[in-house]
């Protein structure tokens, strides 16, 4: 088996086991916590043997598996508006369909941990689930970051809430809080996070050995689902080996890397492949993306720390990409454009997601008009297939790369 297959096979096995455990939760009696991806506190939950379920990831899986359209309609049938987040409606639709996900049945929540409050929709989403399932809801109030940090006061504020959450978890699970175990879990998180940063940095080479958007969104799955486990560390070790060997052979995701781009915004999951093709045909390779950082800005030095587990969880929770203000996000885009020697910025705006889309037009204005970065902004949705118009997207993408290619040709 080549290295490439080994990484893929391990990911498949680990995720298969994870979904199997979700299907078995009813029988095993293991307590189930629902939580969000950005800045989540899964390390703490693992100390109580709680099984994490990520509704956002279920929603994106339904998108890829072409189930999202029907599920969204189910939610709309009971009154959800067409403007509501596609992920929320997908999840409500799943609930209305006996929670039959593309990977088998999902368990009901015993505890809902709203770990990120920067997106107002997240709070409303779990409030709805708390209502429908009659489950306990714990909302972490996460301070929004307006500068790199966070401050000591902010960390103390979040840690105090984490202590409260630990009490809730102990009560729900019947497992006492073992702080030594938290150290072990955070040290596993740290090991995987360090390897992931090396993976991301591999895209600095020419050609990049992988697409830091279209491939990275799959590579980041173990980190978002299995962080704090040994399998997760092993996966990133194998992935890094694979990318290093691709790097040595000069192999990349496109036959010839013609344009290096930075991508901002989540992908249109229901049309993921066809969207990628629109770029591939121009020899486009993403060398950095912001979406691959929704599960953590590790490349910005935000790691879990076994020496200070609670503080590092608090720090991590506040440093999720969408919890950064627009100035910080803009600086990050600038950093990526420079660090990865990108030719252009691509912004995929998501119709039903404000937490990502707000400010994107301003990014475009500043970077394109004031700083001369060729910037393309296209729009569809992350979950709702109705918002994807291939002919129009293709037209914009073709025009953009056509003019970039032309400028190169005439030496402009």
């Amino acid at each position: 088996m080549s290295d490439e297959d080994a990484g893929k096979a391990l990911q498949k096995r680990l995720l298969g086991e994870y979904y199997q455990s979700l299907g078995d939760a009813g029988r095993s009696g293991q307590k189930v916590a629902y939580l969000f991806v950005p800045g989540n506190v899964v390390e703490l939950l693992r100390c109580f043997d709680m099984l994490p379920v990520y509704p956002e990831i279920n929603a994106l899986q339904c998108g890829i598996k072409k189930m999202a359209g029907d599920l969204i309609l189910r939610a709309e049938n009971i009154g959800y508006s067409s403007d509501v987040c596609g992920y929320v409606k997908n999840d409500i639709g799943l609930m209305l369909s006996d929670r039959q996900s593309p990977f088998g049945p999902l368990p009901k929540p015993d505890l809902l941990v709203c770990n990120y409050s920067g997106c107002n929709t997240f709070v409303k989403w779990f409030e709805a689930l708390a209502h429908f399932y009659g489950a306990e809801l714990f909302v972490l109030d996460i301070p929004y970051l307006r500068e790199r940090g966070p401050s000591t006061a902010d960390i103390e504020y979040v840690v105090a809430q984490l202590e409260e959450l630990a009490d809730v978890c102990a009560r729900t699970s019947g497992v006492p809080f073992d702080r030594e175990r938290l150290k072990r879990v955070t040290s596993l998180s740290y090991a995987a996070e360090k390897l992931w940063v090396d993976v991301l940095h591999a895209a600095r080479s020419r050609p990049s050995p992988f697409d830091a958007y279209f491939e990275a969104v799959f590579y980041m799955a173990p980190l978002n689902i299995l962080r704090g486990t040994e399998g997760c560390v092993e996966y990133y070790r194998l992935l890094l080996e694979e990318l290093v060997s691709r790097q040595k052979e000069g192999r990349g995701p496109v036959p010839e890397e013609k344009f290096r781009v930075v991508v901002e915004g989540p992908p249109p999951w229901p049309h993921f492949r066809s969207f990628w093709e629109l770029f591939k045909r121009w020899g486009v390779c993403a060398v950095a993306s912001t979406y691959s950082k929704v599960g953590g800005l590790f490349d910005q030095g935000v790691f879990h720390d076994p020496a200070q587990p609670m503080e590092s969880i608090a720090r991590y929770a506040m440093n999720s990409y969408t919890n950064w203000n627009l100035g910080l996000r803009l600086d990050l885009l600038r950093q990526y454009l420079r660090e990865y020697e990108a030719d252009a910025l691509i912004i995929h705006s998501v119709k039903s997601c404000r937490s990502f889309s707000v400010g994107q037009a301003d990014f475009r204005d500043v970077l394109a008009k004031e700083e001369g970065v060729p910037t393309l902004m296209v729009e569809s949705d992350l979950a709702d297939p109705r918002y994807y118009s291939e002919a129009q997207l293709k037209n914009r993408i073709d025009a953009f790369f056509e003019s970039l290619a032309h400028r190169r040709l005439v030496g402009g």
Binding site: E277, R281, K369, E379, A391, N395, S403, H406
Partner: protein, 273 residues
């Protein structure tokens, strides 16, 4: 033997073909509805344009296709998006052009170009057809007026209405509600033109409004829209009698570059739409 090239612009509503001679002068043109068959529409327009030029089809050395139907044009040698073509065409007719507003059947585009006519930046309307040519067509239909009359009628408005909803789906109910209130056709139409101009200008602002501004696409034939744009911009806009052909002219100019041995950005391999 003289050189001839062609540009075929198959849009969502109309198909246009322009034949240029080796000097870049127009030898023949043809325009007609796209209809259900892109292939047929393109072929018919090509044959007509060739006939108008008084030449044989095989004398056309190179053909560039553009518009939504560009990949389905059977006789096209390569494809260039209409964004690049409109930029090139408008710059050819009005060399001082730095900004282009193109209002077509389903799209509105704002394009900024450099002094060579190359695209510097562009913005297009969102997925829906609100505020495009289709809205004007539906408005004309609702009012029972031929499309070419609504512009001149709008210029006779005494008190233009303020219309905010330019949704193409709800155009009938929007207009009927104003008619019920006793508003005049002239005032309604001026309101419609102003609303569409306003939306187009907000697109233009995103790429930057630098004179000269050229107005292209089918809707530029509408004097009411020209007036509405000029009033709101406070600037004159260039409009050519050939405005509907500008995309095809641009495509033909790309074809000419190629025929002269120049390099042309190759369209990527088509993966099927």
């Amino acid at each position: 033997m003289r050189t001839y090239v062609a540009g075929a612009d198959v849009g969502s509503t109309t198909a246009k073909v322009v034949i240029l001679d080796g000097e870049g002068d127009i030898a023949g043109t043809s325009l007609g509805p796209t209809g259900a068959s892109i292939v047929e529409a393109a072929q018919r327009r090509f044959q007509e344009a060739v006939k108008a030029a008084g030449i044989d089809e095989h004398e056309v050395e190179f053909v560039v296709g553009t518009g939504y139907g560009r990949f389905k044009i059977p006789f096209g040698h390569t494809q260039v998006t209409e964004i690049s073509c409109h930029a090139r065409g408008a710059h050819h007719l009005f060399p001082g052009t730095r900004t282009i507003v193109d209002i077509g059947g389903q799209d509105t585009k704002a394009i900024s170009v450099n002094e060579l006519g190359d695209v510097a930046d562009f913005c297009m309307n969102d997925k829906c057809a609100a505020g495009t040519g289709r809205f004007l067509e539906s408005a004309a239909l609702t009012l029972g007026l031929p499309l070419e009359e609504i512009g001149p009628v709008s210029l006779r408005a005494a008190r233009p209405l303020r219309i905010t909803n330019v949704c193409t789906v709800f155009v009938e109910s929007e207009i009927m509600s104003h008619m019920m209130k006793g508003e005049t056709v002239e005032d309604i139409l001026r309101g419609v033109h102003n609303a569409i101009a306003g939306r187009s200008i907000s697109l233009l602002r995103r790429v930057g409004i630098n004179p000269e501004i050229s107005f292209t696409g089918g809707v530029s034939r509408n004097v009411g829209m020209v007036r509405a744009l000029e009033d709101q911009l406070g600037l004159r806009v260039n409009v050519s009698p050939l405005s509907q052909f500008i995309g095809a002219i641009g495509a033909a100019l790309f074809a000419l570059e190629r025929a002269r041995g120049g390099k042309l950005v190759a369209a990527p391999v088509e993966g099927g739409t």
